[in-house]
Symmetry: C2
Subunit: 138 residues, 2 copies
DNA sequence: GACACTCGTCTACAAAGGTAGACGCTAGAC
DNA sequence: GTCTAGCGTCTACCTTTGTAGACGAGTGTC
């Protein structure tokens, strides 16, 4: 259970992927410029990572001029959820609550987002049936 | 920033590591038995993963009889926090809130834990200075 | 129409990770 | 005292990931 599937992004790929997500859509040139501000990767390396992300189905391309514009193919939410669930799998009864607390603290949520999250928590507390029994399920 | 450090566990190693965490401490034999119930890894593979986790400083051994008992060397909390922060780095303004909501829903927190989390959220909402100013950006 | 730029593709190779066999040592059984 | 089952170590090999050069094609320029 929960090993990395072959399509899951690798750490280097995540860096490229989240950059494209944040921008919405980016031509190759700008992906390269943005990443070279943070890393010392060569142009070639970044092009390889982009191609692998396309191969794995995370990004799609649109031909514009003589180049590509990259954008998300799968929804960022679903990719993040998948990664998030892998994280939860690694925690256990004793560690999951402090882990979530830490994430909430670090997440920099705005107050309206905090309010929404609190509402969610209230609804879970009121209606425990909405809470999936997180046991040994597959 | 935020690429995987060489000591970070790999996906296969995470599976071993979280098993040991959950049990607290386990002799090799039991690690192998538990993992072979979930995977088709050979005995040798599991022994290699255990050794690599010890090399990376995640697990420590205590000699018992002619074998070892494995237990956490670093605190699970700190390892999980590290992994959690890598996850947050991949999200952005638009995706972090739904991601956290999803995690809370899936986490199966007990109601006392939910209550604690709500208290944390309240304190963050009341005192924005406690909240790291994570970006006025788009 | 030739040139320089820029792109995407192809190929390559080293390092890390996944997977596992072989083997020598030791403790308990008889 | 010998045998055997189990344990840790060593070594190995294949795949994936990280990293990047080489190259041919399209395009705008003069």
């Amino acid at each position: 259970m929960s090993s990395r599937a072959p399509e899951d992004p690798t750490p280097a790929e995540w860096q490229v992927l989240s950059l494209v997500w944040k921008a919405g859509a980016l031509p190759t040139r700008e992906v390269i410029a943005a990443l070279q501000a943070d890393t010392d990767w060569s142009t070639s390396t970044i092009k390889t990572l982009l191609r692998r992300l396309v191969d794995k189905g995370h990004l799609k391309t649109k031909a514009v001029g003589n180049g590509f514009v990259y954008s998300a193919k799968r929804s960022p939410q679903s990719s993040l959820r998948r990664a998030g669930e892998a994280l939860l799998d690694r925690a256990n009864e004793a560690t999951v609550a402090p882990l979530l607390a830490h994430l909430v603290k670090r997440s920099g949520l705005r107050s309206d987002e905090l309010a929404e999250l609190r509402e969610l928590i209230d609804s879970l507390a009121e209606d425990p049936s909405a809470k999936p029994t997180q046991g040994e399920d597959a």
